[in-house]
């Protein structure tokens, strides 16, 4: 009878042990899975800092995929930045959402002329009307500055 009971109890013990093992394994995977993105994020940020970039370019980490974002000044630096993150051990893929911004370039002569034309077009031309009678002088119109107007009035007084 005892032998029979032992035979029946073995599969139960085995099943219980396997269940406990599976449970421990699931907890480990869940716990470690949570740690992976944080770990990649930290290591990717370190790699960026070491390469001379801002660690804030790491936007997010999804599993072993690192997503980059932010602004970078040229294509060469963009490639260096992506390569620095891709070289981090365990990173499977890098999603590059970086934006290249153009630095202010010195204006060409054509651009300078264009700017002057735009300023000129935005301004109205000066105009004046002077009426002279035997006793009076009337000046009306529009000028750009008071000094020019004063010069004009002084000249008109001499008539």
């Amino acid at each position: 009878m005892k032998t029979e009971n032992k035979r029946q109890g073995r599969p139960r013990i085995l099943f219980g042990g396997l269940l406990a093992l599976a449970l421990v394994l699931a907890v480990c995977l869940w716990w470690h899975g949570r740690q992976i993105p944080a770990d990649f994020s930290r290591r990717a940020a370190q790699a960026l800092t070491a390469a001379g970039f801002d660690s804030g370019h790491v936007q997010a980490v999804d599993g072993r995929v690192v997503i980059l974002s932010g602004e970078i000044d040229d294509e060469a630096n963009r490639q260096r930045l992506v390569e620095a993150v891709a070289s981090v051990a365990g990173v499977r893929r890098v999603i590059d959402n970086l934006t290249i911004i153009q630095a202010d370039l010195p204006l060409s002569d054509a651009a300078k002329v264009d700017n002057r034309v735009k300023v000129a077009v935005s301004q109205r031309p000066a105009s004046l009307q002077v009426r002279i009678t035997e006793k009076t002088v009337l000046i009306q119109g529009e000028l750009s500055d008071r000094q020019s107007a004063d010069q004009l009035v002084a000249a008109a007084r001499s008539i």
């Binding site: 109205r124 031309p125 004046l128 009678t133 020019s148």
Partner: protein, 89 residues
């Protein structure tokens, strides 16, 4: 002397201003006269008594304006015509 000049920053600085300042004394002989100037042209009107006087004023003023075209609307009225006009009025 009545000054009704409006000063505004969105007005371009005129290239013709220095020439215009120099021509004002020339207008003494033309009174009554009216001058309108802008970036396009200068229009001059008034009354003189002879063609030669009209031409002389134009010749003195035109060099002061540089490239700015002068529209000469000065009217010639001989003393006899002026007298007749006065009588008609």
């Amino acid at each position: 002397m009545t000054d009704k000049i409006i000063i505004s920053e969105d007005i371009s600085r005129p290239d013709w201003l220095s020439g215009f300042l120099q021509l004002l004394p020339e207008l003494q002989a033309l009174a009554p006269a009216e001058i309108t100037i802008s970036d396009d042209s200068l229009t001059l009107s008034g009354v003189v008594t002879s063609d030669s006087e009209r031409t002389a004023i134009e010749n003195r003023i035109a060099p002061l304006l540089g490239q700015l075209p002068l529209i000469n609307q000065i009217v010639v009225k001989t003393p006899a015509a002026v007298e007749a006009e006065c009588r008609f009025k």
